[in-house]
Symmetry: C2
Subunit: 146 residues, 2 copies
């Protein structure tokens, strides 16, 4: 494509993101959490401490409620979540994380922290801070929700 460092800023962002994601999934698999998929993880990530409604999960993950329902079914079978009736609305049920989900989250969080330390070691404290600052600012005009 282009000659020099001619990659677009967008692509330059995607490369480290993808590398991080790969690391997290590898670590989860190594720790025995190999029975869920990236799509399921994306939903699971968004479950709040008190549980979250299916419709809410779907909206946040930007998928249809049908897809979310399918993914939650699989997560339920694998023992990561359970569905409990919502006491405040008899139409709804709350998707709650099970202990297995929190255990996986602890592993994932540890890897993210480790990778960020590696990045900081490579960039130096100053540049890492600038990077986060620029990205946080950029979020203001690129984050469609929040």
């Amino acid at each position: 494509m282009e000659a020099e460092s001619g990659l677009s800023t967008g692509v330059l962002m995607f490369i480290p993101y993808r590398a991080l994601e790969d690391r997290v999934f590898a670590a989860l698999a190594a720790a025995g959490f190999d029975d869920f998929t990236p799509a399921q993880a994306r939903v699971m990530q968004r479950i709040g401490p008190q549980g979250t409604r299916l419709t809410e999960l779907a909206a946040q993950a930007q998928i249809t409620k049908q897809t979310a329902g399918f993914l939650v079914d699989q997560l339920e079978k694998a023992g990561y979540v359970r569905r409990v009736p919502d006491p405040t609305d008899k139409r709804a049920r709350l998707v709650c994380g099970a202990e297995k989900a929190w255990a996986a989250k602890r592993v994932a969080d540890a890897v993210v922290a480790e990778v960020e330390r590696e990045w900081e070691a490579h960039l130096g404290k100053r540049r890492m801070k600038q990077l986060r600052e620029a990205l946080t600012l950029l979020r203001e005009i690129t984050d469609p929700w929040a």
Copy 2:
């Protein structure tokens, strides 16, 4: 947990990337290039000026050669690429971009440039430069190939 936002640096990178991708696809669709998918685009992007082998495309896009073959089939039907025999190796064929592909690329490149200008306007010239610098450095330890 940082003060500015609790999001990991990886997620912070993904947000603008996704926003850029959405913009590019919307612009392509608006320009009439609505007959290909993101997956097909990811393959098409990697076709060199003189054409590229299927196996090479698969490796670069990090998919199997079967999947790549399937996507190239679709691109061929839609008129974006054609396959020609490789003169230097009778086993292989070169996937070459057709004029329609280059036209789409021109549209995409224009949108990328436009979005980058918007980002620079929001961040300021200095911060944009720092951002690209940090990301380029980060590529050294996160880009699995090159």
